[in-house]
Structure formats: structure tokens, C-alpha cells
């Protein structure tokens, strides 16, 4: 009996060995003790182009090696959250600046206030203030902007000139006259502008321009039936009702660049990544006939746009924060920001980097520099991305005519109030137990 038990135990031991051996052999070879390896996750093309900056960093910091992992944008948010849940966040990572409140709620980011205190005073002031503000929460700095992203108009200079406008207008009223002229060109299947109906950005920008608060009572409830939001929303819908914009989504546009070249639409609200795309994809004979313009305002231009962009943050649980900070500091240098622009086309978050000749000579980037002075951030709460997706959903329903303005905004308020229920509970609890 005993020998039988023993034999079984031996069997289990063998099985255990077989099962765990691959794990053992998978261990990385012992690293040199004096060299610290920093894990860095960056998204999309940034993750790829970034590598060109690293030899310089590793030359300056012989004790630090950088391991970059490239994460596709479409999966980045999920991957970062899952990595946090599994305790596998890298030492340093890129994140969209609207995700910062979420990661702050998780307590995943190491505050940077102490570290930037060692910087010269001018360095922090060098960041575009609207962008830097999105990295601050509850008075603390949680991340540093890497590059900026905002929305403005891309337009056909030739078509606008033919419509009687030598320069892009500065107000919505004037743009509406331009749109009307652009609409009545040859043929009926022409539109003035393209606003993908499955995006939340433009309705929100219009609301921010009107001064709508979006949320009320410390961001505890939706405030979408508020008159200013309603006004902006109605204005947005009117662009479709008047036939100025086609009611199509992003996915229905087979080739946006071709359609822009064909003159199917003359104006397109989009972000900096499209400067490069337009330069690459539009036919050569059209290259001199397009430009960018700051968004118009309701009173006198320019109007505010979104303070978007990507930031870099340190993992609070990382034991290699000092080395990761060295890398972050390096990437924040104006010289590196300028080089990064040359590699990726991403617009620098620091104003002094814009004095780089390559950026100064880029005609289409100039409007962005102007726009970056007029920014407004979306509410800094973890629920914002969900709320934005509901705005996009109801805006699309209203454009398609499936819901009236009142029905859409009432439903939006109801959905958003439900999304914010947990936030109300947390705030109430905080008040009850100071």
C-alpha cells in the first residue's frame, strides 16, 4: 500500500517536472547587475519610430537599456487596463490624455510633481497650457504630454477660392456662407464638408464653444438638455439637414482621400495625423490646393477645439522609476520632441520645439500652432470615454432622423446619469466619511 502511494507520488512529481520545465527554461539569462532595463510601451507608429531616438539615450545613460514594446492603438486601452489588473504594467508607457483620470482612479500612475520640481521653471511653462492641464488632476501632475492632437479644418484652397473666399473665414456665420457656395457647385452629389456621423468630437467641440458645461454638479449628472448644449447640438444637426454634410460614417467612406481629391467634399474636420496622410495620399497635382485652418468661433474666431494628445506616465508599482524618469525626461527635451516630429509627424507638446526649421516650414502645421492656443479639455473623469461613445451614438441617431433632438438629449442624459451612478456614490461616501 505504502509503495503504491509512493509510486503515485513519484508519478505526480514527474508530471509536475514535465509541466514546469518549459517555464524554467523560458527564464531570461541573468542580466548584468549594473544595467537596468526599462520596459516601455508605445502605440502604433510611435512605438516603431521611437527606436531611432534610443541609441542617443543609451549612449548618455550607459547603465540603462530600453525595451520597447509596440502596442496597436486599437487594443491599447484594453491592454493597459488588463496589464494593470495582472500587475504587468511596464515601467513607462504612453497613454491617451483622456485616459489619465481612469489610471489615476486605479492609482496606477506615479505622481511627477517632485520630479519636475528639479526642472528649470521655464521648462514646464514651455508646454501648451491647455494640454498640460489635461495631465493634472486634483492639483497633482500625473503624466507629461508627449505630443498634441486637436481638431481643425482641412480644406481645398482652390474650391474655397472659387466660392469667393481667398482666405478661410474665422466665424461660423462666414463659414456657413462659404458652405452654401461650396454646396452649389456643379452637380447634386457634392457636399461642403465631411463630418463622420459616428464621431463625438464635433458635437462636443461645438458645445464647448458655446460654453456648455456638458456635466453638472461636480460632474455627477449629464447636462445635455442644458440650453447651450441643445443649441450646439441643433446647429450640428442643421449642417446635415441643410445638405451641407453627407450623413455617412467613417466606415462608409471607401477612400476619403480620393473623395477629397475628387471634390466630393471641400472641408474636413480632422487631426494632425492627416497632414502626413494628405501629403502621401493626395495626387501630386492637388498638393498645392489644400491647407488647414483653425476652427471658427461663434463670435469672432478662432473657436476652441479639443485638448487631445498622448502622454507618458510612470508606473507607480515599478521598482525602476528613476531609470524610467530619465527616459521620460529625455523624450521631453525640445530637441528630441523636434526629432520625433520629423520621424512621425506628431506635433510637439512643447512650444520651443516648434521653432525647429522642419516644423516652421510646414505650412499645414501653422494652423495647428494657432489652434493649440485655443483649447478646452473634456471633463476629467474616468467615465468620459463611455460618455463620449454615448454622445456619438445619439448624435448619429439624431442625424439619421431616428430620434428627435429632445428624445436624443433626454436619452443621453438618462444614459449618462446611469454611467455616473458609481461616481455619485463614491463622492457621497467621501463627504460622509471625511
Amino acid at each position: 500500500m505504502l509503495s503504491r502511494t509512493l509510486r503515485l507520488l513519484t508519478c505526480y512529481a514527474c508530471l509536475w517536472l514535465v509541466l514546469t520545465l518549459p517555464g524554467l527554461s523560458g527564464c531570461s539569462p541573468a542580466e548584468h547587475p549594473s544595467v537596468v532595463t526599462v520596459d516601455f510601451w508605445a502605440m502604433g507608429q510611435e512605438g516603431e519610430q521611437l527606436r531611432a531616438l534610443l541609441p542617443e539615450f543609451e549612449r548618455r545613460h550607459p547603465g540603462i537599456r530600453v525595451r520597447v514594446q509596440q502596442v496597436p492603438w486599437s487594443a491599447a486601452h484594453e491592454k493597459l487596463l488588463t496589464a494593470y489588473a495582472g500587475g504587468a504594467l511596464p515601467d513607462l508607457f504612453q497613454l491617451g490624455n483622456t485616459w489619465i483620470p481612469e489610471f489615476v482612479a486605479l492609482g496606477a500612475l506615479a505622481p511627477l510633481d517632485e520630479r519636475v520640481r528639479a526642472w528649470p521653471a521655464a521648462a514646464l511653462a514651455d508646454y501648451f497650457p491647455g494640454i498640460l492641464a489635461t495631465n493634472r488632476l486634483d492639483g497633482r501632475l500625473h503624466a507629461l504630454p508627449w505630443y498634441v492632437d486637436t481638431r481643425l479644418f482641412f480644406y481645398r484652397t482652390d474650391l474655397l477660392a472659387a466660392a469667393g473666399f481667398a482666405a478661410p473665414p474665422a466665424t461660423w456665420a462666414e463659414w456657413l456662407r462659404a458652405f452654401a457656395a461650396l454646396r452649389h457647385r456643379d452637380g447634386a452629389d457634392r457636399y461642403a464638408l465631411l463630418l463622420p456621423i459616428n464621431e463625438w468630437q464635433l458635437p462636443v467641440i461645438l458645445a464647448l464653444q458655446r460654453g456648455a458645461p456638458l456635466l453638472r454638479d461636480q460632474d455627477q449628472y449629464g447636462d445635455f438638455r442644458e440650453p447651450r448644449f441643445r443649441e450646439a447640438f441643433t446647429f450640428y444637426l442643421s449642417l446635415f439637414e441643410q445638405g451641407l454634410a453627407p450623413p455617412v460614417g467613417n466606415t462608409q467612406m471607401a477612400n476619403l482621400y480620393q473623395e477629397f481629391a475628387r471634390g466630393y467634399f471641400a472641408v474636413y474636420a480632422s487631426g494632425p495625423w492627416n497632414i502626413g496622410e494628405f501629403q502621401r495620399r493626395l495626387p501630386a497635382d492637388l498638393q498645392g490646393h489644400w491647407s488647414t485652418a483653425p476652427l471658427p468661433g461663434f463670435d469672432s474666431g478662432p473657436g476652441v477645439s479639443l485638448a487631445g494628445g498622448a502622454s507618458l506616465a510612470l508606473n507607480r508599482a515599478s521598482p525602476r522609476q528613476d531609470a524610467a524618469w530619465a527616459l521620460l525626461e529625455f523624450l521631453a527635451e525640445p530637441a528630441q520632441q523636434a526629432r520625433f516630429y520629423q520621424l512621425t509627424g506628431d506635433l510637439p507638446a512643447r512650444q520651443s520645439a516648434w521653432n525647429d526649421p522642419a516644423l516652421l516650414s510646414n505650412r499645414q502645421a501653422a494652423a495647428f500652432r494657432e489652434q493649440l492656443r485655443f483649447l478646452r479639455a473634456t471633463p476629467a473623469i474616468p467615465e468620459w470615454e463611455r460618455i463620449a461613445s454615448r454622445i456619438a451614438y445619439y448624435a448619429e441617431q439624431a442625424v439619421r432622423g431616428a430620434l428627435s433632438v429632445d428624445a436624443a438629449l433626454t436619452a443621453l442624459d438618462r444614459d449618462v446619469d446611469r454611467i455616473l451612478e458609481k461616481r455619485r456614490w463614491l463622492l457621497a461616501r467621501k463627504v460622509a466619511a471625511p
Binding site: L8, L15, T82, A85, A105, L106, G107, G249, R386, R400
Partner: protein, 295 residues
């Protein structure tokens, strides 16, 4: 039970133990955890600090049943199961009959060729099918244009997106059921057909009165597995359309994935998983019941 039998039982358990342990740790424990999770509001706040977790009882379930998006997803999934399931079984059976036909000189070749889509990576398949479905340059619309039919925006048109996904899913999956049907066909005693031919039964009569009844158990198995698999449709719409256009290809599992991993509403997503489980269980029970009635 005498001593020998007891010893036998003990060693039986000992041999089973590793497998049972693995199932318990990697299946039953997570399922139990998910069930508990479905009664909480586990979200991003709770992930950061467990003190921010609340037990909400059945609230996730009631909220789910009131959510129009869930009903949309359920409707889409039902569409997929009801159209795709029978279509898949019919195509598998047809292919199995062709491969198994006596006129077919190379059964091995055809069996392998038709099985190939099953083992191909879905993402690769989806990339190729997206070319086929391209509204302007796609092969499918080119074929239609030869017949004088106007081009269809397969994946962009709300009415056509789901049929397009079903077509791809059926093409991708029918090979597996075909193999099972071939095995079933080869198990039918050849004497039955010989006797039928002597009695003067036509090919159609042979199919109706010998092949179909003899395939009964195979049918049940194939129908059940297909239904269970199709209820859990996820990868096809995830890769091809991301649930669009206008949520017309949003399936229950895709919605669950979005709620769970995009918005990190684990409690709500778990509740959805159990509702889907209940639906699949009911569907399976219904099929078994119908089969028993028919017998």
C-alpha cells in the same frame, strides 16, 4: 464493496485527480467567481480599490434586460444562429454527400481541401474576405456586375452586413461538420441501400428513408454543437465590422467583450455571460426535447 474494489476505486480517483484538479482550478473556480461577480458592480473603481465594490444583487440582470443595446445584440445573435446554423448544417451535409459519393475518385483530396478553411487563421480569412466584399474592387461585386446586378456595399450596408458575416462564417466552419457527417455516412450499413435498390427505391427515396434516419444521432450532435458555437459568435464580427454598421453585427459576446474589457464593467459583463449561458442551455434542452418527440 470489498477490499479489492475499494482499492480499485481509490486508484481510479487517483488517476482522475490531476484532470479533475485542472478542471476545478481552471474551469469551475472561474465560473463560480464570474457568478459572484455578476452580483456586484465590479468596475474600474473596484479594480483600483476593492473597498469600492458593492453587492448589487440582481441589478445587473434587470439593467441588462432593460438595455436596448442588449436586445439589439440578442436579436443579431438570434439572426446569426437561425440563418447561419441551418445553412451551415445543410452545406456540411451537402459537401459530405458529394465527398462520399461513389463517383468521387479522390475523396481524400476533397476532404482535405474542404477542411482547410477550418484550420486557417480567422484573421487571415477575414482579410481576404474583406477584399472579396469590397464594394468597388471586390470579386463578389464584379461577379454580380456580370449578371447585371448593382454593386452591394456588403460590410457597410446595415441590411447586408450580417448576411455577409454569415456567409463567411459558414464557409469557414462547414468543413468540421462535414467530417462528422462523412463519418456518419460511412457508418450506414451498405446492405440497407442494396436492399432498397432491389425493392426499386429511387436515389431520392433512399436518401429520405435510409440516409436521413440513419444519420439521426449525427444530426443531433452536429445541430447542437453548431448552435452552441454560433450563439457565441464573436471573432467574425470583431475582425470584420467591430459590430457596425449601426450595431447591426453586434453579437452578445462582442457586447460582453466591450463591456468587460473596453469599459471594464466586469459585473455587468458577467451577468451577460450567464444570461447567454441560460439561453444556450434552453436551446439545447429544446432541441433534445424535439428530438425525443420526433422519435
Amino acid at each position: 464493496m470489498n477490499g479489492y474494489e475499494r482499492q480499485l476505486a481509490r486508484s481510479g480517483w487517483a488517476f482522475l485527480a490531476p484532470a479533475l484538479l485542472l478542471i476545478a482550478v481552471f474551469f469551475f473556480l472561474p465560473v463560480l467567481a464570474a457568478l459572484l461577480l455578476s452580483f456586484t458592480d465590479f468596475d474600474i473603481y473596484a479594480l483600483g480599490d476593492l473597498r469600492r465594490l458593492r453587492f448589487v444583487g440582481l441589478e445587473n440582470y434587470t439593467q441588462l434586460l432593460q438595455s436596448p443595446l442588449f436586445w439589439t445584440a440578442l436579436g443579431n445573435t438570434g439572426y446569426f444562429v437561425l440563418l447561419g446554423g441551418p445553412l451551415s448544417v445543410a452545406v456540411s451535409l451537402g459537401a459530405a454527400l458529394l465527398v462520399n459519393a461513389r463517383l468521387n475518385r479522390f475523396p481524400g483530396l476533397f476532404r482535405t481541401a474542404l477542411f482547410l478553411p477550418v484550420v486557417t487563421t480567422l484573421v487571415a480569412v477575414a482579410v481576404v474576405w474583406r477584399y472579396l466584399y469590397h464594394p468597388r474592387y471586390g470579386l463578389l461585386n464584379y461577379g454580380l456586375s456580370l449578371l447585371g446586378i448593382a454593386p452591394i456595399d456588403w460590410l457597410g450596408d446595415p441590411d447586408w452586413a450580417m448576411p455577409a458575416i454569415i456567409l463567411m462564417a459558414v464557409w469557414k466552419n462547414f468543413g468540421f461538420n462535414m467530417i462528422i457527417f462523412i463519418a456518419g455516412l460511412q457508418n450506414i450499413p451498405i446492405q440497407l441501400y442494396e436492399a432498397a435498390r432491389i425493392d426499386g427505391a429511387s436515389t431520392g427515396q433512399q436518401f429520405r428513408h435510409i440516409t436521413l434516419p440513419q444519420l439521426g444521432p449525427t444530426f443531433l450532435f452536429v445541430a447542437l454543437m453548431t448552435m452552441i458555437g454560433y450563439f457565441q459568435v464573436f471573432a467574425e464580427p470583431y475582425v470584420m465590422t467591430q459590430g457596425g454598421p449601426a450595431n447591426r453585427t453586434l453579437s452578445v459576446v462582442l457586447l460582453m467583450y466591450e463591456e468587460g474589457f473596453r469599459w471594464w464593467n466586469m459585473g455587468y459583463a458577467s451577468a451577460m455571460a450567464f444570461v447567454l449561458f441560460a439561453l444556450i442551455l434552453a436551446g439545447t434542452a429544446l432541441q433534445l426535447l424535439l428530438r425525443r418527440r420526433a422519435r
